[in-house]
Amino acid sequence: MVANASPVVCATCEREMNHHAEKLVHPTDSVDDGYLDPILGGIVEEVHACPACGTGASRRSTR
């Protein structure tokens, strides 16, 4: 799998966000299937926060 190398950038401040969490989430439909991690038993969602304005963002981990 390809690593999520690119940082997430805040849509408001254009600052690089801080990657602070990876949370296992449960798939609910077939579009999620490609992200399923068979070892962890779910989808890993990366969670980021902006150090300037606090806004949160997330994306599916491909690591």
Binding site: N18, H19, H20, A21, E22, K23, V25, T28, E45, V47, A49, C50, P51, C53, G54, T55, G56, S58
Partner: protein, 200 residues
């Protein structure tokens, strides 16, 4: 004296106020959890550096013919995204929490992660919603929230407020104070972590 505040211990000055909304977790007609939620909003509002809001689950336009993030309301999701911590007012229904509170909480997920939550239990009976709180804690944990070790229990709630919703029992105020102090500390700490501490 390791347990005393040391000289040089810092009081953090937040660049932005903390946002700590209160979720009123029932839609029941005549709900006694409403004055409890209003009291929590009022106690939060008196603290400097904190903004709050009352989020009434009865007013959220959430569909009940679906579940989970498919039901997400953009306004509620934006409030959860902005929140640093939550106060959940949870009445005890048949030794559990209210089904609609769970439905509303389930509509978001990533918005909650690494944020603090404290639960205020409400009941007609003598246990102050404690049984409902105990069942809610693992749900909050799975949502990515960080639970605090203080709760507030409004037991026999019909005696605690007068007809106009004014608190009759001042003994609740020091309990709420301890609960909110811990919640605010956790909210500050987790905000710092979210914004500055990288997951290794």
């Amino acid at each position: 004296m390791p347990w005393q505040a040391r000289e040089g211990a810092t009081r953090m000055v937040e660049p932005r106020p903390l946002f700590i909304p209160v979720i009123l977790g029932t839609v029941r007609q005549g709900r006694r959890s409403a004055p409890v939620a209003r009291l929590m909003v009022s106690e939060l509002s008196r603290r400097p550096g904190i903004e709050t809001d009352l989020i009434d689950v009865a007013r959220l336009p959430l569909r009940v013919d679906d579940a989970g993030e498919a039901t997400k309301d953009p306004t509620f999701a934006a409030q959860m995204n902005r929140a640093d911590a939550l106060v959940v007012v949870s009445p005890e229904y048949n030794h559990g929490y209210s089904g609609l509170l769970k439905h509303v909480l389930d509509s978001c997920l990533r918005e909650y992660i690494h944020k603090a939550v404290g639960v205020v239990g409400v009941s007609a009976g003598p246990f102050g919603g404690a049984r409902g709180i105990q069942d809610l804690l693992p749900v909050l944990r799975e949502l990515g929230l960080v639970t605090i070790f203080w709760d507030v229990h409004f037991a026999t709630v019909e005696n605690v407020f007068d007809e106009s919703g004014v608190l009759r029992e001042p003994a609740y105020l020091p309990r709420i104070d301890k609960f909110l102090k811990e919640l605010v500390w956790m909210a500050r700490t987790l905000r710092h972590g979210r914004e500055h501490i990288v997951l290794e």
